[in-house]
Symmetry: C2
Subunit: 336 residues, 2 copies
DNA sequence: CTGAAAGCGCTTACAG
DNA sequence: CTGAAAGCGCTTACAG
């Protein structure tokens, strides 16, 4: 910048003014400076700029990992939207590890202005009384209480809608694959399980705990094993359920596999719905009816909340809820 | 930092020395400083540090998008490996746009020490004579000539192996779905098409251009349309090919759909292999034999190359080639 | 082993 | 409309 100033014969201040469109500058001077900038290939140093202005136009995106739930499409949406506003995003993979999630909160993502965090391992306490309440927006499916702004997908409502859909299409015994038996949790699984219960209650059906199947993880094999086990005592015969709501998409693919192997037609004998945002849902056979998060809207709101927080500092806490959408495909009956 | 220095009663320099483990410091002083750091919750400002040391421990990752080829798993690998070394990575989505790719090269990713770029729209000229040869590592499937270090997946070799596999399993007419008819290109499609030709030549078969099917894009629908068109003139009858090598995985899923619809058994009548790193390959029916890039190794080598380049500046250019792996699944005959 | 000074490349008041 | 000075929070020679 000093070189540019020298070349034009003005002070650094003036160059700074031109580059940042700050203050008033004579039009001729502007042109001269612009020309010199071009000629010398000058690029402002973002570090020096940030050191003063205390703002780097960078946000940290702390996700457990790209393979987790709808993280991949959510991250893609954040990258896109941020890029459009000239904001850089630095990835902060937490691996679903509490220590790393805490570290994100403490360290505020290094050189970023704020952080977008999807908490997974953080306890309710951690969130309620966090180490440092810097500009932070929580996002995800969890139900949390904290001093931070947040953007949550309405998983309870969506799960309820999914079960209602299944009941409406004739199902009466819906397996909740990957659900959480114990009530009162705040994880994505717990939140969705609540919706499952609500739907049954609202429909006047009774809740059968044996239909809530917990799985060690949410991989395809877990879904396969769980459904295969339910069918084992009844080779070819009875099917103790007529629908499956899988709380993570890979579980559903495993379930489809187990059902196919056991000769249970989908959706004829068993209808299947899954939470998921992957394209896989279209590729499977039959294609899968899914409940998908509106990641684009979530990214949009989260980014807006964060930039507002960075700009304004003290401002009332916002909590945004974003609905999910049910995409009907071949694994459920079409509404007759 | 000044506060810490004041609290302990030493100079900033000493605090700096302790924090960075630079120079020699009295052990008692070290302890005192550490205590004060802890007590005051001091965190070094990475901007100020970077302004001096001219290094931010940040790299930019410029990819066309998470949905493109093996970008998603590659990005995940880069995030993981970088995190393990305390390097931050800022995403720079280019959208496969030449201007944005050029911008990455010019601007060197803002506050990052260097950039990992997967060029897609950049021309051979752009790469040969780039705007600014800062620390940069090119990565991807393209065959490029440039002053930069690079990490390339050996797509030609892999395509050749895939065709050899098909021929070895009895195929004689292999459709190349998403191939590039025109020779001499340097895109991923062109590079893979070369392998296809090589394999045929090596096996003494003749190259039939009608089997090279170009597709407007690489989506599922493109694959579906292309294969459906090939089968249209022959309803239920002849099948003018007995294998498909799809150059992008979605194309293969579309192809499977078209084949299923036309009643052509896979792999009985037609065997299918696809380039791809997605888990979708396992979920489809039948599951898909794929050629997958070793993204972890690519990420590892690219990061190593970049940090070496950042550290050393002038050093001979490195070009690393990483092999791909064929994962056999149900869409091809098992080797009898 | 430790300190005082200069400086990284910008921006922010403060003058004019 | 423009400039000279101070300063952002560190590190880098240079002394001692």
């Amino acid at each position: 910048m000093r070189d540019v100033a020298a070349a034009v014969g003005v002070s650094v201040k003036t160059v700074s003014n031109v580059v940042n469109a700050t203050g008033q500058v004579n039009e001729a001077t502007v042109r001269a400076v612009r020309a010199a900038v071009e000629k010398l290939g000058y690029r402002p140093n973002p570090l020096a700029r940030g050191l003063n202005s205390r703002t780097t136009d960078t946000v940290a995106l702390a996700l457990p990992g790209l393979g987790y739930g709808y993280c991949a499409p959510l991250a893609a949406a954040v990258f896109d939207l941020a890029e459009a506003e000239g904001i850089s995003v630095v990835m902060e993979p937490t691996g679903g590890d509490r220590e790393r999630e805490l570290e994100v909160l403490r360290n505020r993502g290094g050189l970023s202005d704020g952080v977008l965090l999807m908490p997974t391992a953080l306890t309710a306490r951690d969130l309620k009384d966090p180490p440092s309440p810097g500009p932070t927006v929580l996002l995800g499916s969890r139900r949390v209480e904290s001093p931070f702004d947040s953007v949550a997908s309405q998983d309870t409502v969506a799960a309820e809608a999914a079960v209602r859909l299944l009941l409406g299409r004739g199902a009466s015994r819906v397996v909740l694959l990957g659900g959480e038996r114990k009530a009162g949790g705040d994880s994505a699984a717990a939140v969705r399980t609540d919706g499952y219960r609500h739907a049954l209650t609202a429909a006047g059906r009774k809740f059968d705990p044996s239909l809530v199947v917990e799985t060690p993880r949410s991989f395809r094999d877990d879904g396969y094993a769980a459904i295969a086990r339910l069918l084992t005592p009844l080779p070819g015969g009875e099917t103790p359920f007529d629908a499956v709501l899988a709380l993570e998409e890979p579980l559903a693919h495993g379930a489809l596999h187990a059902l196919r192997e056991a000769g249970r037609d989908v959706p004829g004998r068993v209808q299947v719905v899954a939470f998921g945002n992957d394209e896989d849902a279209e590729y499977s056979w039959p294609s899968l009816t899914t409940v998908q998060a509106d990641v684009r809207t979530m990214a949009r709101r989260a980014l807006d909340l964060l930039t507002a927080r960075v700009r304004e500092g003290a401002r009332p806490r916002s909590h945004v809820e974003v609905p999910l959408t049910i995409i009907e495909r071949e694994s459920t009956f079409s509404y007759a």
